[in-house]
């Protein structure tokens, strides 16, 4: 059943990837578009397909996959379905790191400084959350710590951008808080890929530990899980995946909340099997959202975060409602 689910998700991702390539302000037939993509030269349509739509679709898959994966891993570690990098402020902390790297000019001079700084911000965020909410992840403490972290990181981001001498920097606040894939290029793909790959690797290696953690930390440790190493791998892996995604796409919330929530029943609630499924599901969701923002308001940069919140907030409400019932 698991293999069938992964195959279906992969197929859906490929289909939406194709649809994403065919979505844009220019209304060109699919055959002509794909011809321009694969056999194009230097004409305007060839450049649109190759340099604008292709990297955007690739980045949607990378960002969505990272956020879905990181959400599933965080929830597994804290054993709490509300633990999502966007909701608990880790994305906001990553955005602060990215903004600092950009405004100090570090991003322009040091290779990988942008995703590196975002990773560092996210790492401090995860650290703060684990410190405040405890590794057991009580829901109330987790959410409150998340609210505090989000507020602080967002305020500092806005402050840094308001202090910038660039008149357009203040407008960036919306991008960093709501996220967007508009006008991305292979430059961003190259910037994000290595750090994201590190995150994926660390999180994928944590699958077995997350599975055992279902029975609590002590039971997991007694079944051979090195808890300290597991916590470190997930903390670092989440920070890398979320940091790199945020550095290129801003804060795209709720992906890591909605996707694991929907897919959990389909993988027998198994945290290990949830990881690859959530990565594919995240890619699927962000691809769909990025297609939708271009269909709903063509030619305007409707932020991804707007759409994600419209989908994600009801799921969040539902989860809180269910937890209240359980308590």
């Amino acid at each position: 059943m698991n293999r069938k689910l992964l195959a279906a998700l992969t197929f859906a991702v490929l289909a939406l990837f194709l649809l994403s390539l065919l979505t844009g302000v220019a209304d060109v037939g699919p055959i002509r578009s794909l011809k321009a993509l694969f056999w194009g030269g230097e004409g305007p349509l060839d450049i649109v397909m190759r340099e604008i739509r292709l990297p955007r679709a690739i980045l949607a898959v990378m960002v969505g996959g990272s956020l879905g994966l990181a959400g599933a891993a965080m929830q597994g570690l804290l054993r709490n379905p509300l633990a999502e990098p966007g909701v608990i402020g880790i994305s906001a902390a990553a955005a602060l790191g990215a903004v600092l790297a950009l405004q100090t000019g570090l991003a322009a001079t040091v290779p990988l400084a942008l995703p590196g700084a975002a990773l560092l911000g996210a790492l401090l965020g995860v650290g703060a959350i684990l410190f405040l909410a405890g590794a057991g992840g009580g829901t109330l403490a987790l959410i409150l710590a998340g609210i505090a972290l989000s507020a602080l990181a967002s305020a500092l981001t806005a402050l840094v951008l308001n202090l910038s001498p660039n008149p357009f920097a203040a407008h960036d606040i919306v991008f960093w808080m709501m996220g967007s894939l508009a006008d991305t290029s292979f430059t961003q793909v190259a910037v994000a890929a290595p750090v994201m790959a590190l995150g994926w690797l660390l999180l994928a290696r944590s699958a077995h530990g997350l599975e055992a953690l279902t029975l609590g930390e002590e039971a997991a440790a007694s079944m051979g899980v090195n808890l300290r190493r597991l916590r470190l791998a997930i903390t670092l892996g989440t920070a890398a995946a979320v940091g790199a995604a945020t550095a290129v796409a801003g804060t795209v919330g709720f992906v890591g909340l909605v996707v694991p929530h929907v897919l959990r029943p389909l993988v027998g609630a198994n945290p290990a099997r949830l990881l690859p499924a959530s990565a594919l599901g995240g890619a699927l969701l962000v691809l769909a959202a990025d297609i939708a923002v271009r269909k709903v308001l063509p030619g305007q940069d409707l932020k991804l975060g707007v759409l994600m919140a419209l989908v994600g907030a009801p799921v969040f409400f539902h989860l809180i409602w269910r937890m209240r019932g359980a308590a």
């Binding site: 844009g24 302000v25 220019a26 230097e42 305007p44 349509l45 450049i47 649109v48 340099e51 604008i52 739509r53 950009l102 405004q103 000019g105 991003a107 322009a108 910038s164 001498p165 660039n166 008149p167 357009f168 920097a169 407008h171 960036d172 991008f175 960093w176 508009a182 006008d183 290029s185 292979f186 430059t187 030619g299 305007q300 940069d301």
Partner: protein, 280 residues
Amino acid sequence: MWASVRSSSLAFMLAAGLAASVPAWAEPAPARVVSINLCTDQLAMLLAAPGQLRSVTMLARDPSVSVLAELAQGYKVNHGKAEEIYLDRPDLVLAGRYTAQTTVNMLRDLGIRVEIFEPAQSFADLRADILQMGQVLGRDRAAAEIVAAFDTRLAQLQAKQPEGPRPVAATWSARGYMSGSQSLAAEIISTAGYDHLAERLGRKGGSFLPLEALVLADPDLVIEGHSRAGHARSEEVLAHPALHVLTGRKAAVQTPDWVCGLPAVLDAVEGLRTGQEGAQ
């Protein structure tokens, strides 16, 4: 739309100036003038008598937006806040149409005369603004001379229109903002011998043009607007590889000449002309 509104309002303003402001005529010219808008800063610096202009905004000293940045060093600067302006005891405050309304209202409540200037959307607006500035400062003759010099230079430039089909140009700045077909930038572009892309797309007002649409429109010239200070993600789109592939040969950068309706707009026209000659 702007141009027609402005030319009629120019006529109205001149008429009103003659009829309604007879009492103002009788008064002496204002002696303590403060400007709180970048464009009125520069108009006032061009026209004011020595000692008449008390202060200009911080922005007037910024060479990335101000043509008269050096001249502005000789003036005190303000930050456009009602409190500091009131304490300077001005007898006239110069503001733009889009200057913070609360500030303007407060200054008026405090009994200070505030003159509002419309942002120039055309060369006609530009002349009107210069004449209006001349009038409120009591420097009508100087204003008329500047307008006359502007018209002479403009006529010379128009006489030298390049031959052949007109190439297409577009302005493009942060977040893909393109000036509309009825704007100061559009008139600069058309005077320089180009068709404005906004005209072809039927966009009268300023609007956001997605990168994809710009690439597909494939204009002959993209005039980028860059702020040189700090970083903004909104401006990253100006460095998009697709833009380089397409416009590598023909990119010009918007200069402070494009910002306000001043005679310097003709420098922008000449800049485009020479850039064009250099590229071909």
